[in-house]
Amino acid sequence: MRKTCIAIVLVLALIVSAMGIASAEGFYEGKTVEVIVPWKEGGGADVACRLILEYVKAELNCNITVINVTGGGGSIGLNQLLSGDADGMTLAYIANTDTNGNIMLDGVTYGLEDFAPVARFAADPHVIVASNASGIKNLEDLIAAGQDGKTLWGIGGAWTHWDFLKIEFEKATGTSYKRLVYDGGATAMTDIMNGDCTVATPFVSEALPALDANEAVGIAITSAERNPQLPDVPTVAELGYEGFESTMWRGFAAKAGAPEEALKEFAEAVGRACGNAEFIEKAAKAGVTVDYMGYDDFQVYFAENHEAVKAAYEANKDQ
């Protein structure tokens, strides 16, 4: 055991020295920033965060550690962010529905004013897919199947953007489906492939394996424009539901009260990373749709989005 201890110290020492410590200039330069990802390793949020943070790290000349704190529909990780200091050294991944935690999730106390929004870096569309066994081939079939409320609609988690996409789609098309909750889009895809689930709304990267192999049917995509990875899948809007757009945006937030200059610096670094050609190429391959929104714009968007989600929830919470 002693030997293993010495070994581990040596390994750690190597890692630390490899990272190097630069002289301090910007707020973050030479420091170690923690970014909490409240979702599990290997998932859509995790992949997107790790990818962009590699480039943000280089921009800020700092060290960034990603910690996956999972559970509670993301609330465990966000609570951990809020229980720490508002010093700007800890950030968290945040998405559409998180600021409404206190009204959507029992036992969660945080809300809009607890967070200091930093920047948005992506807005990922969902692909509406149907199983081969269902016989649903296009949006028309899908709407026909949504008349009796018995068709299974697989979502990736309770009360996150997955639920809202379903609500928005039902409202736009006057349909209703039976909600079936999975723990991620990839798990739902398994059941689409074997026909147990009828419809699901995975992210592009989660849907591609099955669509490539013709193991599922791509019905429509929920962004305003078609996705370069799936050029043959039409948008919901172009199929007659003009203005329909529902994407999962991905961004970073800190605890409210964190120093503004620091957060601005971080947001600018995210912006420069989003302009990096190498990052854009890698993001496209990973199915991440880069869509940067800087510090000032994001403040406004963050609050607007909060109200929109809140209204949608209030109208549908008894579902």
């Binding site: 002693r2 990603v66 465990i76 309770a158 079936l180």
Partner: protein, 502 residues
């Protein structure tokens, strides 16, 4: 075929062999330290692989994964603390062998059966991945639920001496697994106002505490003693007869491991318990299990390493990860622009075959790396228990905190440890806790989904062939040990009566 040969030449490049060896050395270390796990090893090194060639990156991650799963068994044997939950059954047997002064023999068995299980799973990955993927696709929610119930039947075999206590522990642990949000509406249950409990108990801290601390407390009962009563580690030599005597056991366990690995949400840990269970059922001397049965070690290790390759099959062919480390693999592959799924083998053949051939090589290299670790690792048996105990507590705390940087988890770990000690001192088995926690969440989720899918027509479930087969297996698995126990009791009573008559 050309792709396979290309894979060979890629793997055999000196740099790639070095990467495999390095990954193994680090992976085994992560697996061996209580509190650190195979998943952590893979997660920590993912960022480093971004700058590597895709083939080399996947080799490194594979080596870390295989090494991590193997590494957990070294402390399981030496100090009775499984470095990862996947080695929990190994710990049940290993400790007894160490006490007898046969640590060397036990460790060699561990290494050999791990290599065997891992290599066999790698071959399965190479030869019949597309075929096994078809089976993976048949495993839907109802089947996953049944597999979990099937897994719980292992509790009966684990607690044969005191069935009542074993089953009670399992049921209470299943209730513990329901703490936190329900899987459908997200309503928090049993949180007692703790925000940290909204997500339920994290399984990892509970298991770290439960497995490490009771052993630590036991060490402190005799702080100046050493782990071996005989004072020797014993020879590592194994007679050929003993190796071949376990061949069938090894093959059976590896096949169980591969099959469990394929099922999403059941990884090496469940595989080890299931393989151990079947070995005990098949053994001529099931009564020796728990007091140093080599068969148990072989089954557990061939099983958990068999799951390593198995869990990659649905990942590579369908894009569905079969275990936690496989999920991180998925992330790493996506970042390299290699999208797992049916088209993987045609679009990225060179990379995939490099990885699969590498998997075979890694498992063979594991024999060398493993024996080195075992040889030096066994020296800790000469360290006084007081020093050993302190080191283990430090590692357990650091490991728990490092996973999620949450001090609440550290308290959970200590609580679980204290509870585990009290349980062991009062002859309550602790393994059912691990089984119930590892299976409970998944069982609840798949049950909820099955209920939604088959609302109002539950009998239709039996139109699914795999579900029906699993149900029959499960019933058999619950009833068989009970009948066997009853028969043995009757036989004993009869013998006693005959003795009296004489």
């Amino acid at each position: 075929m050309a792709d396979i040969l290309l894979g060979f030449t890629n793997v055999l490049q000196p740099m790639n062999i070095l990467i495999c060896l390095g990954g193994l050395f680090v992976g085994v270390l992560f697996g061996a330290l209580p509190g650190f796990s195979a998943t952590m090893a893979v997660a920590i090194f993912v960022p480093f692989t971004y700058v590597m060639e895709p083939g080399a990156a996947l080799l490194l991650l594979s080596a870390l994964y295989c090494g991590g799963v193997f590494g957990g068994s070294i402390p399981a044997v030496l100090v009775g603390i499984p470095g990862t939950p996947a080695s929990a059954p190994t710990a049940l047997e290993g400790k007894a062998l160490v006490r007898k002064g046969e640590a060397g023999r036990a460790l060699h068995h561990v290494t050999l059966s791990s290599v065997f299980g891992g290599a066999l799973s790698a071959v399965a990955l190479l030869i019949c991945a597309p075929l096994l993927a078809q089976i993976a696709k048949m495993v839907g929610q109802p089947e996953q639920m049944m597999v979990a119930v099937f897994g719980l039947s292992v509790v009966i075999m684990l607690s044969e001496d005191n069935l009542f206590k074993g089953v009670m522990v399992a049921i209470i642990s299943l209730v513990l697994a329901t703490f936190g949000q329900d899987p459908v509406q997200g309503f928090p249950r049993f949180t007692y106002g703790f925000k940290e409990l909204i997500g339920g108990f994290s399984v990892v801290p509970v298991l770290i505490g439960l497995f490490s601390l009771p052993e630590v407390f036991k060490m402190l009962e005799d702080p100046h003693g050493k782990m071996t009563e005989t004072g020797t580690v014993g020879s590592m030599k194994l007679p050929l007869k003993e190796i071949f005597g376990n061949l069938i056991n090894g093959i059976r366990s590896a096949v169980i491991g591969i099959c469990i690995g394929i099922i999403p949400a059941a990884g090496p840990d469940i595989a080890a318990f299931m393989a151990y269970n079947e070995a005990k059922k098949a053994s001529k001397h099931p009564e020796k299990f728990g007091s140093g049965a080599v068969e148990g070690i072989v089954a557990s290790e061939a099983g958990n390493n068999g799951a390593t390759g198995g869990s990659l099959i649905p990942l590579l062919t369908l894009g569905i990860p079969g275990s936690a480390p496989a999920a991180i693999f998925l992330g790493a592959m996506i970042i390299h622009g290699i999208r797992p799924g049916p088209t993987l083998f045609s679009q990225h053949a060179s990379v995939v075959y490099t990885m699969i051939i590498g998997f075979i090589l890694i498992n063979l290299l594991m024999y060398i790396v493993g024996m080195i670790y075992c040889k030096f690792g066994s020296l800790i048996l000469y360290i006084p228990k007081s020093i050993l105990a302190t080191t283990i507590v430090v590692l357990a705390v650091v490991g728990t905190y490092a996973t999620s940087k949450s001090i609440f988890d550290v308290w959970v770990m200590f609580g679980a440890g204290l509870l585990g000690y009290l349980m062991q001192r009062n002859n309550f088995p602790t393994s059912p806790v691990a089984l119930a926690l590892l299976l409970g969440t998944n069982m609840e989720q798949s049950l909820a989904r099955t209920l939604t899918m088959y609302e109002g027509r539950m009998l239709d479930l039996f139109s699914r062939p795999l579900f029906t087969a699993l149900t029959l297996f499960t019933v058999f698995s619950f009833v068989y040990p009970l009948i066997k126990m009853k028969l043995r009791k009757n036989k004993k009573a009869k013998e006693a009566a005959e003795l009296k008559e004489q």
